[in-house]
Amino acid sequence: MNIVVLLKMVPDTVEELNVGADGRSLDAEFLRYKLGDPDEHAIEQALLLKEKHGGTVTLVALDAPEVDDVLFTALAKGADRAIKLTGAESPPGTPVLAQAVAACVRGVWNPLPADTLILCGSYAIDDLEGELAPWLATAFEIPLAMVVAGVQIEDGGRKAVVTREFFGGLRGEFELDLPAILGIQSAEKPPRYVPIAKVRAAMKSARIDSQAAELPEPPAGLELGRMAKPEAAGHAQMLEGDPDKVADQIIEVLAQQSLI
C-alpha cells in the first residue's frame, strides 16, 4: 500500500499562550509546537496498516519548530520516508496548507497509485472543524471519511472499510474506493512508544527530504479579526457541609432556578 500521512504542528497548550502584539496571532515568545493527538493516531494507524498489508508510509509536514524531532520519531517507529515543506514564514491557513501538501504529493505521485491512502488527523486544536481533510479531498477529487476510528483494507487494496464515530456513542461502517483520504480520530491501538535510542539511531541513519513549499495565495473567505483569551464569566459555587446540609442547599438552588 501507498500510505501518506500529513502531519501538522500545533501550539503546545502546556506552555503559556498569549495573544501577540497584532491582536490576531499567538505571541511567539513562549510558543512551542507539537504534534496534535489525532496526528499521533494517524501515524499509528498508518504503521498498523503497513504491518498488516505491507507497503510504505510517507510523512509530509510543513516546516515548523521541532518538526524534525517529530519526523525522526515517526521514522524510528517505522515510517519509510519524510518530506518537509519549507518556506512558510508563519503557519498558513488550512486551505493554503492543503494546496501545498497536494502539490507535494502530486510531485511525487502523478497520478496517485490505486492503493493510496492519505491519512491526517481529523481535527487539530487550531482546526477544530477539521477542514484540512476536506480541502485535500477536494484538491485530489477522491473520497473522504472523517472521524475515523478503524480501517480495514479489502479487495486487495482497492477498498477501505472504515469505522466512523458519531455523537452519542454511535458508530458506523463506511466503504470507500481507494485512493481515499481519512481524517483519523483514533487508531485501533494507542500510539506506540519508541525509545530515545531508536530515535537517535534514526537521526543518524534516516534523512528528511526538504522541499520548497508551493504556497498559493489564500483564497478569499473568512478572515481572522481578533484573538482574545477567554474571560471568566462566573465561578463554580462549592457547597460545603455534611450531606444533609448539602442536600438542602441543592434543593434551594434548584428551586431558585425554578427547576423543581
Binding site: 506552555e15 503559556e16 513562549f30 512508544y193 525509545p195 530515545i196 531508536k198 537517535r200
Partner: protein, 674 residues
C-alpha cells in the same frame, strides 16, 4: 593401616581408587567445562578490575559470611557446615593424594593427631548444624525457602561423611587396640561403645568407613554441579566478581550500544548475570525481603535468578533430546512475565540481604530495557516518558513552571546560572511540581535561608535527573536527560549539590560524571545535620515526640545514610521510636524504579506503603511518621488515608519539623514582654 592396600574383588585397592577418582573428576570437570562454556557465550563484562577490593570482599564475605547471620536460626549452623566442609574437602584431597601416590612421603590426614582432632570436632559441630538445618526444613521452614529433595539429600550425604569419619576413627582405635586419646575424643567415646567388636572386624570396618567416605565425596563431586549445591562452588566466585557500584550506578561499563537495548535471549545477558543462578542457594532471603512479593505482585527476586539458570540449562546442555530443534523460548513471555519484570521497586532489599551477593535489580532493569526497546511499556509509563522527553519532568508541565513555588511563596533565591553559590539545590520533579509538596519545599528553602546558607537553583534549566527513567529501562532517555543537566550544570557555578530527593541524590552522586569525576552531592538531611552541628540553625522545639523515622531506600540501603537524619531528630529534641524494620531492613514505600508511574494490578493484597503505615501505627505513642523523601510524602499520606489512620498518625517531612523549631526560635516569645 593403609586402606588402599586391599584387594577389592581381586582388583588392587589403589587401582580402584584411581578408576573412581578419574571417573568422578572426569564427569565433574566435563560439567564445569560445559558450564563455563555457557558463561562464555554471554556478553562480556569486566569484573576483573580492582583486585585488591575483590580479595578483601572475598575474605570477609566468603570466609566470615556476615550475611548468613542475618537470619539467626541458620546463621551459625551454615557457618559450621561451611567450615567443616572446607576442612573435610582439604583432607579429602590430602587423603586422595596419599592414596593414589604412595611415593609421596606424607601420612594420611587422620594419622596427624591435631588434624584428627579437628576432623572429629568439626564432625560433631557439623552434625549439630545439619540437625538444625534439617529441623528447620522439616518443622519451621521460613516462607519462600525452596524445600527440595535435593537439599535434604545433600544434608544426608554430608551427615554420612561426618559419621564415616567418626566411625572410621572409632574402628581404627578398636582394631589397633590403642587407648582412648584426647586427639580423638569422639572416636574414643565411640570406640568404648564398640569395644565388643573383634579386632579383625573392626579393621575391616575401619577400611570400609574410609572407602565409604571417599566414595561419597567422589559421588558428591559428580552430583554437585548438577544440583543446587553448585552454589558452594560458584558463590565464592560470585562474591569475588561482585560489582560494588551496583545497583546505585547502572552505567553499563564500556557498553556497546546494543547493551542498552537489554536482553531478549540469554546470550544477551552478561556472563555475570548468567553466573548468578549457579550461585543461588535457594534460601529465599530475597523473596522474604521483597516488598513486591509481600504485596502480592507476581515477583519473587529468587525466581528471576533461578529462571535464568533453569532456562539456560534447559535450552542447552540439559536440553532433552525430544526438544532439540524446537524454537528457543524467548526470555520475556516464555521465561519471565512482563508482570514480574515491572513489579520491582528497585528498593535493593533483595541485594542487600543476598548471602551470595547476587545482583537481582540490574538483571531486572536489563529485561526492562528490552521491553522498552520494543515499545512494550504500560500506557501510564509511556505518558511519563513522553513528558520527560518533551518537558524534562514527569508532570507534563512547562519547564518554565519548575520554580513557580519560589515566586508564589514570595521567596528570593539565587539563580546559580547567573551568580556563584556554595550549594546548588537540585530540587527534583516532585518537590518542584507536586502541589502536595510545594509548601514543604518552601519550608526547606526558609530553613536554608535561616541558616544563611549560600544556595541557588537552576530554575527552568533543571531537568529530571533520570533515576527512575534509567530504572524503568529507558537508557536513551536517561542519557538525554543527564546530558542536558550536565550542560546546564557546566554553566552554573557552585561547590556542592544538595537535594531533598534520595532518587535524585543517588543518580547525581553515582551516575553523573564531570570530566570523569563524580559530583559532590549531599542530601538535605546531611546538610541540616551539618548546619545544626555548626550552630547555624536556631532551634526551639515545639514538641518532643515520640516520632518514628522511615529510611528511604535510595538514601539508606543505596547510600548508607542512616545517622544524619537521626541526629537531626535528636537535635530537635524528638524521641525516636524505631519501627521493627529500620536502617538497612527498612521497608520500601513502593514508589521506586518507576513504580510510582504504574498502575497497581488488581490482585495486590496490601500495598507496601500501607503495610509500612500499619507497622508505624503499631508503635506505642507514635503519632508522627517522619520521612526524608518527597515521594514518601505522596506515598505515605495516601497510605494513611487508605488504611484509615487519619488523625492517628501524620506523615511529615523532616524539613517541616526543622522549620517548626526554627520558626519558633525566631519568633519573639509571647508573654515574656507582657
Amino acid at each position: 593401616m593403609d586402606p588402599v592396600q586391599i584387594s577389592l574383588l581381586g582388583v588392587p585397592g589403589r587401582a580402584v581408587l584411581w578408576a573412581l577418582a578419574i571417573a568422578a573428576f572426569g564427569v565433574f570437570g566435563w560439567r564445569i567445562y560445559q558450564l563455563v562454556g555457557l558463561l562464555r557465550q554471554g556478553r562480556f563484562e569486566n569484573r576483573f578490575d580492582r583486585l585488591g577490593w575483590r580479595v578483601g570482599h572475598f575474605l570477609r564475605n566468603v570466609l566470615l559470611q556476615p550475611r548468613i547471620f542475618n537470619e539467626r536460626s541458620i546463621g551459625l549452623p551454615h557457618f559450621l557446615i561451611f567450615w567443616g566442609f572446607v576442612l573435610y574437602a582439604g583432607c579429602f584431597n590430602w587423603g586422595l593424594i596419599r592414596g593414589l601416590l604412595p611415593f609421596v612421603p606424607i601420612p594420611y590426614p587422620d594419622e596427624v593427631p591435631v588434624v584428627r582432632l579437628f576432623l572429629e570436632l568439626f564432625a560433631v559441630l557439623v552434625l549439630a548444624g545439619l540437625g538444625v538445618a534439617l529441623a528447620r526444613r522439616l518443622f519451621f521452614p521460613p516462607k519462600y525457602l525452596h524445600l527440595s529433595f535435593d537439599a535434604n539429600l545433600i544434608l544426608f550425604l554430608i551427615a554420612v561423611l561426618m559419621l564415616s569419619n567418626l566411625f572410621g576413627s572409632a574402628f581404627t582405635q578398636v582394631a589397633e587396640g590403642s587407648p582412648a586419646t584426647g586427639w580423638a575424643p569422639f572416636g574414643s567415646l565411640l570406640a568404648a561403645a564398640l569395644s565388643g567388636v573383634s579386632k579383625g572386624a573392626a579393621h575391616s570396618l575401619a577400611i570400609a568407613m574410609w572407602w565409604l567416605h571417599m566414595i561419597v565425596v567422589l559421588g558428591f563431586l559428580v552430583y554437585l554441579p548438577y544440583s543446587k549445591h553448585l552454589h558452594l562452588l560458584a558463590s565464592p566466585f560470585n562474591v569475588f566478581f561482585n560489582n560494588p557500584e551496583l545497583p546505585a550506578d547502572l552505567t553499563l561499563p564500556g557498553a556497546p550500544a546494543e547493551i542498552s537495548a537489554g536482553a531478549s535471549r540469554w546470550q544477551e545477558l552478561t556472563w555475570k548475570q548468567l553466573f548468578g543462578g549457579f550461585s543461588c542457594a535457594e534460601c529465599g532471603r530475597c523473596d522474604r525481603s521483597c516488598p513486591a512479593a509481600a504485596a502480592g505482585f507476581p515477583l519473587q527476586p529468587q525466581q528471576i535468578i533461578q529462571k535464568v539458570k533453569q532456562h539456560l540449562l534447559a535450552t542447552t546442555i540439559d536440553q532433552p533430546r525430544s526438544a532439540a530443534g524446537s524454537p528457543a523460548p524467548s526470555l520475556i513471555g516464555d521465561v519471565f512475565t512482563e508482570g514480574e519484570i515491572w513489579a520491582c521497586t528497585t528498593c535493593m532489599a533483595c541485594m542487600n540481604c543476598c548471602a551470595v551477593w547476587n545482583e537481582q535489580v540490574p538483571l531486572i532493569v536489563t529485561l526492562r530495557r528490552h521491553l522498552v526497546s520494543q515499545g512494550q511499556v504500560e500506557r501510564t509509563v509511556q505518558d511519563m516518558l513522553a513528558n520527560l522527553t518533551r518537558y524534562g519532568n514527569s508532570f507534563g508541565k512547562s519547564d518554565r513552571m519548575r520554580a513557580k513555588w519560589v515566586q508564589s511563596g514570595g521567596l528570593k533565591i539565587k539563580d546559580a546560572r547567573k551568580e556563584p553559590v556554595e550549594y546548588l539545590w537540585f530540587v527534583g520533579d516532585y518537590a518542584s511540581f507536586d502541589p502536595r509538596l510545594e509548601e514543604i519545599t518552601r519550608k526547606t528553602a526558609r530553613v536554608f535561608q535561616a541558616a544563611s546558607l549560600d544556595f541557588g537553583l537552576l530554575f527552568e534549566g533543571e531537568r529530571n535527573a533520570g533515576n527512575d527513567v534509567r530504572r524503568v529501562g529507558e537508557e536513551g532517555l536517561f542519557e538525554l536527560l543527564r546530558d542536558r543537566n550536565l550542560q546546564t550544570l557546566a554553566k552554573a557555578r557552585f561547590q556542592k549539590i544538595v537535594t531533598t530527593d534520595p532518587h535524585t541524590y543517588n543518580t547525581l552522586k553515582h551516575e553523573y560524571r564531570v570530566d570523569g569525576r563524580p559530583l559532590e552531592v549531599v542530601h538535605y538531611t546531611e546538610l541540616l545535620d551539618q548546619l545544626i552541628r555548626d550552630g547555624r540553625l536556631p532551634l526551639k522545639p515545639r514538641s518532643n515526640g515520640p516520632v518514628t523515622y522511615h529510611d528511604p531506600c535510595y538514601l539508606g540501603r543505596y547510600n548508607r545514610i542512616y545517622d544524619p537524619p537521626r541526629r537531626v531528630l535528636a537535635a530537635l529534641g524528638l524521641e525516636l521510636r524505631e519501627m521493627p524494620r529500620h536502617r538497612d531492613t527498612s521497608y520500601c514505600c513502593g514508589a521506586g524504579g518507576g513504580r510510582i508511574w504504574m498502575e497497581d494490578t488488581a490482585d495486590v493484597k496490601e500495598r507496601p506503603a500501607e503495610n509500612r503505615i500499619r507497622e508505624a501505627a503499631a508503635l506505642e505513642g507514635v503519632r508522627t511518621f517522619v520521612v526524608a523523601c518527597p515521594k514518601d510524602i505522596a506515598m505515605f499520606r495516601d497510605a494513611v488515608k487508605t488504611t484509615g489512620q487519619e488523625g492517628r498518625i501524620a506523615v511529615q517531612d523532616i524539613a517541616e519539623l526543622v522549620w517548626d523549631a526554627v520558626e519558633n526560635a525566631m519568633t519573639p516569645a509571647k508573654g515574656a514582654t507582657a
